[in-house]
Structure formats: C-alpha cells, structure tokens
C-alpha cells in the first residue's frame, strides 16, 4: 500500500478469444445470442466481420487485471466498465490500467482500466476502487 503511487501501471495481459472460449463462456451463462456462435448469421445478417466477443467477458478480464495486481493483498470494492467498440474472435486484445489515486488514510486506491485492440484503441474502458487493510 505505502508504495502505491498515482501513475503506477497495472500488469498488461494479452487475450485472444477463440470460438472455443467464446462458446464456453456463453454456455456458462446460458446465453444463446447468435452473434457469439453462428458465423454465417453474424457476418451475413448482422454485418459483423466475425463472431463478437461477449461484452461481459471483457468486463471480467478487467477484474482479472485488478485481482492479479492485488495478489490477495486488498479487496475489490467497486468496479464499472462499458463496451464502446466490438471485438471479434482472433483479435489480439490487451488488458491494462494504472493507479489514479491512493489514500493511505482509508486504504482506498482508485484505478483506471482498459481493454485495447490491435489498433491501440480503448474498446472497453473501466474503473475500479480497491481497499487495502489499514496500516
């Protein structure tokens, strides 16, 4: 906690969602939205270039970014994100983020989070608040 400073980066991780991961994720939800598994429908009817990576899956990746950085030392208090731009199976995506503020009094640290695509665009921005035990 004492060493956490605004601007500190969170570790980046690369994700390449394939059709197997996308299937397993939507099966775990019971989500039958065809844009996640029906390639002809998704490309020909909906006009997407490929199967669409599920929005909340990318939201989950942002929580992984936080939890892997926390490494059990603090807890996630709040988390928000939005899906700004679609991603497709096979896209090389990267999660990451940075520390925005750190309050040693309360142990609260605010984080900015993102998923970026190959063009380096932020497609899924997010924010989180974590709390470390009081010193």
């Amino acid at each position: 906690m004492v060493n956490i400073r605004p601007g500190d980066p969170l570790p980046e991780r690369q994700y390449v969602c394939d059709s197997i991961q996308l299937f397993l994720y939507n099966a775990a939800l019971w989500n039958a939205h065809r844009i996640h598994f029906d390639y002809p429908y998704t490309t020909e009817i909906e006009g997407y270039p490929g199967l669409v990576v599920a929005g909340p899956l990318m939201g989950d990746w942002l929580t992984q970014c936080v939890l892997d950085w926390l490494d059990e030392e603090g807890q996630l208090v709040s988390f928000e994100y939005s899906n700004r731009k679609a991603a497709f199976t096979g896209d090389e995506l990267r999660s990451g983020g940075k520390v925005i503020s750190s309050d040693p009094e309360t142990g609260e640290v605010k984080l900015d989070l993102h998923i970026k695509n190959e063009a380096d665009e932020v497609i899924t921005p997010g924010k989180a608040t974590v709390r470390f035990p009081a010193a």
Binding site: A27, G55, P56, W61, Q64, S78, S82
Partner: protein
C-alpha cells in the same frame, strides 16, 4: 427531441421483477473461471467465485420459445421497446462480500431508467436495471447497475 419514448413506456420505470434465487455450486464457479481465463487457484478450484460470476448465476434460463430469432430473450418484466437489436452496454457493481460455493443468493431486479440518445446510425434506447444481490438472510452481497442499449 425524444421520438421513441412514450409516456406509457416511461411509466414502467420503477417496475420490479420477481426475485430469483440460485444456489452457488463449485462446478459452476469452475466452469465460469475456466471460460473467462482466470489464473488464481481459488477461482479455478471453485473455492470462491470471481467478481463477475453473478452475471452467469442470474442469466435468464428461459424456454426456447421465449428467445428472439437472434437468440436473445427480453426480460418478461421489461416493457416492449420500439427498438429490438441488443448491443452490450455497461455495468457498475459495488461489492460487499465474496461469493462462495453453497451460498444461496437472491437477486432483486428493478427497472430504474429508460432514456434515448442519438447514435451515429440512428436512435438508441438505453435502459438501466438495478440488481440487489443478497444472501438468504438478507445480507447485501453486491449491488449492480446494468445499462443495456437497443438499436
């Protein structure tokens, strides 16, 4: 400027769905943790649920006739919207305590907002659902606000 939102549609703000109650199992946590790519052993072993697990736990299990041709269901407590195609939206979640296997959780959902925005390819309708997830004894586990977009 609003063209799609009638007073009748807007009168649905404040409506609640019947509470959903679900049992958290180790197997469901494991499936979710593997499918999302989690690395921490406690999640992969199903000993604790990842923070977004409740999305899977409370996703609507509806009969096939209730799915639209694109495989999406509209919550039966939601009004019929004049736009039909669902886009992913955003989530905001406040956490109170982790979820463990054996927990029986209750989700109480309320439609808390409906509004319209102009998109680059036409109008978009946004609606917000607030979900309170509690333990059986009424302890708050998390509060989630979901915004969904229709085009």
């Amino acid at each position: 400027m609003s063209t799609l939102l009638t007073p009748e549609l807007l009168s649905n703000i404040g409506k609640s769905a019947p509470p959903k109650k679900e049992l958290v199992t180790r197997r469901d946590i494991r499936k979710y943790s593997i499918a999302t790519g989690h690395r921490q052993e406690k999640f992969l072993a199903g000993e604790e649920a990842p923070p977004m697990f409740h999305i899977a736990l409370f996703w609507g299990v509806v009969e096939m006739e209730q799915l639209s041709p694109d495989g999406v269901f509209m919550d039966s407590f939601l009004p019929e919207f004049p736009l039909k195609r669902a886009m992913a939206g955003g989530w905001k979640i406040d956490y109170h305590r982790p979820v463990y296997p054996g927990d029986v959780l209750v989700a109480k959902r309320t439609l808390t907002a409906i509004y319209e925005k102009k998109g680059s390819q036409g109008p978009l309708i946004f609606y917000e659902i607030t979900t309170e997830v509690e333990s059986e004894s009424g302890e708050t586990i998390l509060t989630e606000k979901t915004t969904r977009i229709l085009r």
